[in-house]
């Protein structure tokens, strides 16, 4: 064991630090929980494992908190490394896996508890939100283990689960994700937690979650809009319009706000600014400042190779004088899109703000089904600036700036929070809503 073995490259250290910080900011870790691991090939060509040290603060990692392990021998790093190193090592041995991350993902843990006698096999977690459903491929396994921390049982169970799934949960402990990179693992964990959060909120507003799951099982296409684009790796530093320094700053600023304010999970959602024949496009809108995300310049003209998300941006620009478009997966909005007023049978077709600012800025926020026609959606965006697509995220448009279009999903989140809080208190939402808003 030589000293040089301890020294990962500065770039790798930065990536660990940034992912650790993002885990903390997204509130899916406590100060010392979780671990981050990846395969890494050193200068000597030998493949190794990098993993965070046990007890390290993931939100504020020192270089010395990142341990370098041989994949084939035990060394000093092993004894400083995470107590769950063996689990990660076996996950990293799976085909195509370059990274694994564990986080406590509290919201997912909340909704996967059960009070059945132990031992038992808990039911898998079925996401009811579009991101969770698509990215987690319909379900997340949940397992109970007698010793839910660094145990042999976990070392056997988790890699086995992850051989077939992207994320798995140990009941009462947290989630593990496999991925190609640590950023992609972060993406999956954030989406898993987001999926748990949506279910948690639905339970709070009295929604029939199991009924919803049954319907999703019957006809998933009827419940979700198109899936998000495939996650791309190793492209977060790309910027295809370096001359537009003011706009780059605005993209980074808006992206950081979307992430930090939990308007959309890490590297989800999209943002764009229209030019004359091209548009500037952030396909991973929710971007922590340190990690960033690609900033593309793409032709405005539709291209058969465009993914559905990009095609939507282009179609919206073709339909109006919009300058900016945003699409975010706001968990509170997805939740309220399923809200049925007491005594009514159908989910509401609108969210009506009950707070002062929301009710003036956004008197009515339409809620439309996932299969809404583009023409209908753009028509509503002209009149209301922001629209909630049930099972499809929140779309917003602006006539001037990225900041303007960021404000829409951000406000929607707050508007929904006020409504949910009022409902939790047992207040009559109908009495709080301006009567006229129900007829617009």
């Amino acid at each position: 064991m030589t000293g040089s073995k301890w020294k990962a490259s500065e770039e790798v250290v930065r990536r660990f630090q940034h992912v650790g910080r993002a885990l903390l900011l997204h509130d899916i870790e406590d100060s010392h929980s979780g671990n981050i691991a990846m395969r890494w090939t050193g200068e000597d060509g030998e493949e190794k494992i990098l993993i965070t040290a046990t007890g390290s603060q993931k939100g504020d990692l020192y270089p010395s908190d990142i341990c370098l392990l041989s994949t084939s021998e035990t060394d000093f790093g092993y004894y400083k490394a995470s107590s769950e190193t063996d689990i990660h090592a076996r996950i990293l041995a799976l085909d195509g896996v370059g990274a694994s991350v564990h986080a406590h993902t509290k919201d997912l843990v909340f909704v996967t508890f059960d009070d059945a006698p132990k031992p038992n096999q808990p039911a898998p977690f079925i996401p009811v939100d579009p991101l969770g459903y698509h990215v987690l491929e319909g379900q997340v396994p949940v397992d109970w283990v007698a010793v839910p921390s660094g145990s042999r049982e976990m070392t056997e169970t988790i890699p086995r689960r992850l051989a077939d799934h992207r994320v798995t949960v140990i009941q009462g402990h947290g989630a593990f994700a496999k991925a190609r990179t640590i950023e992609e693992a972060l993406y999956r964990l954030c989406i898993a937690n987001h999926a748990g959060y949506v279910v948690r909120l639905l339970l709070k507003i009295g929604a029939d979650v199991e009924g919803l799951r049954a319907k999703i099982r019957e006809a998933p296409a009827a419940h979700f809009a198109y899936p998000p684009p495939d996650y791309t790796v190793n492209d977060d530093a790309i910027c295809e319009f370096p001359e537009e320094d003011e706009l780059i700053r605005e993209f980074r600023r808006a992206g950081a706000r979307i992430f930090e304010s939990r308007i959309s999970p890490f590297h989800t959602g999209t943002l764009s600014v229209r030019g004359i024949s091209s548009m500037l496009y952030a396909p991973k809108a929710s971007m922590p400042r340190e990690i960033g995300g690609p900033l593309r310049q793409v032709p405005l003209k539709p291209d058969g190779a465009d993914d559905r998300e990009l095609a939507m941006h282009k179609a919206m620009y073709a339909a109006g004088n919009f300058q900016t478009v945003a699409h975010c997966y706001v968990p509170e909005a997805e939740t309220l899109a399923h809200f049925t007023h007491p005594g009514e049978t159908e989910a509401s077709d609108r969210v009506i703000a009950i707070d002062a600012e929301g009710s003036f800025l956004y008197p009515v926020i339409p809620v439309v089904p996932p299969g809404v026609e583009l023409e209908t959606l753009t028509g509503l965006l002209h009149d209301y600036k922001v629209v909630i697509v049930r099972g499809g995220g929140v779309w917003g448009v602006g006539h001037q700036s990225l900041s303007e279009v960021l404000h829409h999903p951000s406000s929607v989140r707050e508007i929904c929070q006020y409504r949910m809080a009022a409902f939790e208190r047992g207040l009559d939402l109908r009495k709080l809503e301006p009567a006229k808003a129900r007829r617009w």
Binding site: E244, L247, V273, Q323, P363, K385, Q400, S401, E404
Partner: protein
Amino acid sequence: MSSYRIPGYSGKILEVDLGREIVRARPLDPALAEDYLGGRGLATRLFVDAVDPACDPLGEGNVMVLATSPLVGMNAPTSCRGHVVFKSPLTGVIGSSNCGGTWANVFKAAGYDAIVIRGKARTPVMIDITPDRVELLPADSLWGLDVHETTDRLLEDGAGKRARVLCIGPAGEHLVRFAALMNDKNRAYGRSGPGAVWGSKNLKAIRVFGQEKTRVVDPERYQSGLDQARFLLRAVPTTKRLLNDMGTAGLVRLINVIDMLPHRNFQDNLHRQDRLDGASGEALRSRLLVRSGACMRCPLGCQRHTRVGDRTGEGPEYETLVLLGMNCDVYDLEAVTLANYQCNELGIDTMSCGGTLACAMELFERRYITEQDTEGLDLSFGNASVLEELVRRIAFRTGIGDQLAEGAARLAARYHHPEVAMTVKGLEIPAYDPRASYTQALGYMTSPTGACHLRGGYAVSLAFFGGAREIPRFSLLQSPIAIRNLQNIGILQDSLGVCRFTGYAYSAEPWSRMVSGATGLDFSTHRLEQTADRIAALERVFNLEAGVTRDDDTLPARFSDESIVVGGKERCVPKDVIERLRSDYYELQGWDSEGRPDRALLHKRKIERLRS
């Protein structure tokens, strides 16, 4: 109350042929109301239908249309404004000017949506409008009176104080190319020289009296927009406080902060802070302000009623203060205020006046004109003592005033130095240096009336005060769309009869609900956008027919060749940037490389007219 089929409109157009002494009312075509709203849109359409674009702006062939909107007469914030459209004697392109005060509101209450004025009276006349009759009356006794005297004289009889007067002063009578129309004595349809058009027609004034109410057909929808508008106006600092506390002059120090405040005919943007402080909105408030005031139904209250010694009047506004002041290197607040009073009384646009004086001062500084040309007046930059005298000479076209009355472009050309004229299409540039914002630069370039921040898009409102809507100032990609959208919202405000300053707080959404509630028609924001596109295209068509070419959509060379420091960086608008911005803007509008909309686009915009 009008029984016209579309609520919100009076349903009548008043046609006045001064040469043939014919006055008649005709019904408003409902299709025009639906497609052009009112104000600027309706006036533009009526004007384009009535005029030969090749006409002499000061000949009897020119036509002037003044229109109100469906919101005028209601309680929507700032909904009191009228709009005039004409061929400008200053620029030779479309003239389009907007004004608050009370006149337009009372005109609508007399039962009309617009007035179309043609021909030329043989002798000075005025038009007297009441709900019962419209008369052409001799105005020989008014000719020569200033704006205040004319207004007072006309209110002495007739309907007395309940009537309202729109008139010209001596500047209009003497065909000063930037003469204004004035109502409520001090409120101006200022830009592009509408006063000269009246002067050329021997039309001195229109007195109007009316009391007809305008009804709202869908009160709930209307009220929802109104509630939202009122809330936002109270929430945004600019509309909540700044404009009322300091008037528009409160912008002086703020615009200087963003390095956009022009100096010495746009030769630089460098101001000594102590001099600037002495001529700022704060100084105006502490030294000269008697009280603030407001146009009808305006909660903002940006009017400044001021006193200098024993003289009282209104102003100065920001543009006046900077263009007659700092841009002439004058920081004497009292001198600028007195010159402003004089402009109001004589009926002169203070902006073009200031731009022309700054041009003259640079010509003088460079010795292109001398004291021989000025009858001994010292036109040096910073000489505040000549301002009032120059304004008077302009109004009466005496001495050097006769040359100044032609505007900066003609003045500079006369002395063979056109590069000294800071104009676009012949219109003097407002008090925001375009080198500090590509977006504003493009707005000046593409404004249908020439360099105008109001018709060309008020980019500054977003560059500094935009809040969530704040736009980058130097984005080549974003500037064309940002300015087109700003131009469009300006078209809508002008066509709805509301003030540009509401744009600090909100865009089209509240107006959409208010105008839909007022008319019962579904004016969605998308439909309003399409309406704005249509009006913009029609203005462009007129300008093309009047002879505008791509080369006119540009900036003076100074802004490309001479840099200023903005945010610590040397900034100008290089020629290749001008080229790209212009080309992109044309493409965005659907125009060809020469800036011409094709027939298919015009058909889409429902404009079946384009002479080749």
